[in-house]
Symmetry: C2
């Protein structure tokens, strides 16, 4: 299933999911689009439009019952289905520095539909050692083996945690090898060919927003 939803709508789905999980943890069964909008900082009409688009494109969104709002459990299940979180995509990680270690040790990739299969680095002292993850262990390989590995194993996604100056070259190798999506944590913008999904994590955006809300 190729999703044809607009990117801004897509980007809001994980937040609906998170809100549904919070509501479920509070034993709530229904939620109105007005309340969803308020807690997420969207407009109620944006929520209704998103759900209408989901229904149109994917056939599901969340069951709404006039006056009762959406069912929280179906909201959660449908978001997980539309986000394809239960379909494990094989993924490689390139650059085993501190950020990669922090992610591997703490981040729930499986929850995001991602299965980390291999890690790559340039440092001889890292190559051949094990990267511990929440799910188990991953072998750290020589980055020189990346093209061959990709040709053989056909990973669908890649996590980019390498130094900024080699980010673009690494992305080129990955997309040439058929990787369909790159999670870019290098703090520099990279270009990918048409049809490859790219998510840049710009940590500075949220820190700038915070900065603005603080009096000196």
């Amino acid at each position: 299933m190729r999703i044809k939803l607009s990117y801004p709508t897509l980007r809001r789905l994980p937040r609906y999911l998170r809100q549904a999980e919070t509501l479920l943890s509070e034993a709530r069964t229904h939620v109105s689009s007005k309340e969803l909008a308020e807690s997420l900082g969207f407009t109620p009409s944006q929520v209704r439009q998103d759900f209408a688009a989901l229904k149109e494109v994917c056939g599901v969104a969340a069951d709404g019952l006039q006056g009762y709002g959406y069912r929280v459990d179906s909201l959660k299940a449908n978001m997980e289905r539309i986000l394809k979180l239960t379909e494990q995509k094989i993924c490689v990680l390139v650059g085993v520095g501190n950020l990669a270690l922090a992610l591997a040790h703490n981040f729930d990739f499986i929850r995001c539909g991602i299965r980390l299969d291999a890690a790559f680095d340039v440092l001889p002292e890292k190559i051949g050692t094990i990267l511990r993850t929440l799910e188990g262990e991953v072998l750290i390989r020589d980055v020189a083996e990346l093209p061959d590995y990709c040709a053989l194993q056909r990973p669908r996604a890649a996590i980019l945690t390498c130094p900024p100056d080699v980010a673009q070259d690494t992305a080129d190798i990955l997309t040439l090898s058929g990787v369909q999506g790159i999670w870019n944590l290098t703090n520099v913008d990279i270009r990918v060919p048409e049809g490859v999904a790219l998510e840049n994590v710009h940590l500075s955006d949220s820190l700038m927003t915070l900065s603005c809300r603080i009096d000196v």
Copy 2:
């Protein structure tokens, strides 16, 4: 200056800034709201509304000239001013694990209006050592000293990179000490008192969005 802009507008300002910097690097002088919208995935009317709100609230946004669009240099300068990026807010970091090391070594806090002044951890082998940052060096102190340090030095902001299970307690100590903003990187949601700014970094949102765009 207390900014009274809506949070969704505020959240878009770093992205306008980033786009202005990209355009400047391409030697562009003007940009239309239509082009800004397209490159950022906003609607043109949203861009115009944001700039109208900025003008209303802060007296500045970006100089627009009918037919030529906004001036890129003033767009950049005004975004920096509204985001208060040149006013350095003193900040502490709590929890010197891998994520904190990755940030300290690579992240440009000063660019975000934040000056890292001290770091705290519980591990005896870390306490008393130096955390290297892009700007220089920061002493790692015993987290038991955090309340006294805050009372004396009055940091305005805090970066939370501690383990999830102590995130809320740490946030409580910080806000009781008068910290006005918390950048929460612990991957768990925390509560802060009214009036305290909170930015949760939810890395899973972007990875889920990526996951959804990849075929298995």
